[in-house]
Symmetry: C2
Subunit: 387 residues, 2 copies
């Protein structure tokens, strides 16, 4: 537990600290001050400050895109995509990723200490929106002295942030790449999130969100939440191919409630390892922000209005077997962008790996990202192979 708390207060990342004099106004009407934003950067910002790419992470991701993770010791979550010579080429681009506010890797969230009491916020932390996350990131981009990002890129909840960036700050986003995402969270997705939240809140160790104060940890509830969510990240085909009905370390059923099947053992492991690196209240806040996301509703009921007059160039990506954020969700955004007269390309990638595909070795995703970012860089006058 000590490692987790260290990451919350004094993370192994750069931090931007905004004081009481610079509160972040939230859509709910509340505000947060002071505010800490933890972030990683890769590569070098050029003199024109024109080669910055902001990566927005997904629900359970963080700023550790392409470096060893300080808690798990594992590679960054997008190491296949981001690095020197990789599709998001850090030899050429200055890549930034910040932990979202509400998270638990060093940006201010429900586990952070309140300035007034010195106690963790818990559920006294204000409920956030995707737009709030993006406004916090904009503070960081200001701080880095960048006016316009070459690109904003992200998958899933990260894709929602990409869309919110393009809608809220169109002039600051030269190119936008939302992957496996949606302009609004579906009823089914809200339903799965609600199950996860109820699992956390059903755990008596949750203590109405005051577990850090009371010295408990709702690990069982959070683990169940993660298990349920994890199923939705995979496709039926992927589960079948990976596990089928194979037994785990045995030849026959044990006629018990042990993890007889490999898929059970795998899911239990996913649950257990997740709770070592994630804060239960953060899980509540971030799923809630996703549920609330509805870019059309924010724009008088018209998704096209969210992008009216946009000069940003968009590239959308979906995966055929993604049932959490199906292709129809991306297509809806493409239609709205077309109606708004925006520049948009759209690639549906054949994959049987489900929603998770955006995190995996997908050559077509890599080629799409490389081509799109290369074209954006050329359009912005950034020479090939140069910073």
């Amino acid at each position: 537990m000590s490692v987790r708390i260290t990451e919350i207060e004094e993370p192994n990342s750069e931090v931007l600290r905004l004081g009481l004099d610079a509160p972040l106004q939230l859509e709910s009407g509340a505000s947060i001050a002071p505010l800490q934003i933890a972030y990683q950067t890769y590569g070098t910002l050029n003199a024109a400050k024109s080669n910055a790419i902001l990566i927005c992470h997904a629900l359970t991701g963080d700023q550790h895109v392409a470096n060893e993770h300080p808690v798990t010791g594992k590679s960054g979550w997008w190491i296949s995509m981001v690095g020197p010579g990789k599709p998001i080429d850090t030899a050429r681009f200055f890549v930034i990723c910040s932990n979202v506010i509400g998270g638990c890797m060093g940006s201010t969230g429900p586990a952070s200490l309140r300035p007034e009491s010195g106690e963790p916020y818990g559920t006294e932390f204000p409920v956030l929106t995707i737009g709030d996350m993006v406004r916090a990131q904009a503070r960081l981009i200001d701080h880095l002295g960048i006016e316009t990002l070459l690109a904003v890129v992200g998958g899933s909840m990260g894709g929602m942030q990409v869309l919110a960036w393009a809608s809220l700050f169109p002039k600051r986003v030269f190119a936008a790449m939302p992957i496996a995402s949606a302009a609004k969270h579906s009823a089914q997705n809200i339903a799965f999130h609600e199950v996860g939240r109820q699992a956390v809140m059903a755990d008596p160790e949750w203590r109405r969100g005051r577990y850090r104060i009371e010295g408990t940890r709702p690990v069982k509830g959070l683990s169940v939440a993660r298990m349920a969510a994890h199923i939705t990240y995979l496709s039926e085909v992927a589960l079948q191919r990976k596990f089928g009905r194979n037994f785990q370390d045995r030849d026959a059923p044990t006629f018990s409630f042990d993890a007889d099947f490999q898929v059970e053992s795998y899911l239990r492991h996913q649950g257990i390892s997740f709770v070592e690196r994630f804060d239960a209240n953060s899980y509540l806040y971030l799923t809630r922000a996703m549920d609330y996301f509805d870019l059309a509703a924010d724009n008088g009921g018209s998704l096209a209005a969210a992008f009216k007059g946009s000069a940003t160039r968009f590239c959308l990506v979906s995966f055929t077997s993604d049932w959490l954020f199906p292709t129809s969700d991306s297509r809806q955004i493409v239609h709205a962008l077309n109606a708004a007269g925006a520049s948009v390309s759209f690639v549906e990638i054949e994959s049987d790996k489900g929603h998770d595909a955006f995190l995996l070795e997908e050559p077509n995703l890599f080629a799409t990202a490389r081509g799109f970012l290369d074209a954006a860089a050329r359009a912005r006058g950034i020479a090939e192979g140069k910073v």
Copy 2:
């Protein structure tokens, strides 16, 4: 709670009691004695005893097919299908439905009292299979003096029992109608069940299954399990149409963890009402039995071998939007039946209501059932409109 216990020990149903001298041998090697089977019947058995239809219920169903439920006070779960003049016509057929063993509505299950100790079995109850449920039902059919059932009909876990009946007792099944079912449980379905079980077992009130002895009730865990499962019973389209992103009794988000969205409120209600009528340990045992179901594995790896030489006439039904037991599962059974040279018809019904469709007003399902049972009755010499 008193009502539930009454239903377990002295249900509002007919019961067959088998003594210590007639133990039920289980596939695990264990046995159960004494054994109680609670059942309902509708209509009249004819003199030839040729008009009996056995209905097998699904995971959370019970024997109360077409009468008021003694716990909830609601109509039976298949009141639209079963009754005088209905597709399963009780003016013509003698309809039987028994609570599965492992259940909690009067058939012996984990909440039943052990004869030795007078205490509930809890997790000392032996783990069951679908085949075990069917062998128990065969005892009831023996007791009723019926040699060959006109038909065995059921959906979901009920469909698994239909398949097991046809495989284990081919001569006792004149016609078989498995609806929205599968010959084996998929990796994804095992995964969802495992999440449900972990939710129950994570609840400290579960007390390692000894909650009835210790006077607690794992209602939160069971409620979360039900919520997760319930999502899988519906289609994305049905959720979208029914709830979309509509708010519940409000016009705007509350920026809280209240059930802002109708779909959240609906799911919470599903969870809360379920725990009033279902035993948590029964939920563990019945989901486990479904996970273990693999009729091909039971027959040397060949599903066709399960039906070799069968004279039973089969009618399979699937629904287009059912993603829990998709059409491909039914098609696999049809292929095996064809390979076994069995008589089989197969109807895929266009419906956007998901797995739940088999419980709902689906005119095509009603027409299919009526037509199939009518043809079976005629083939067995049961005159139209006569008992």
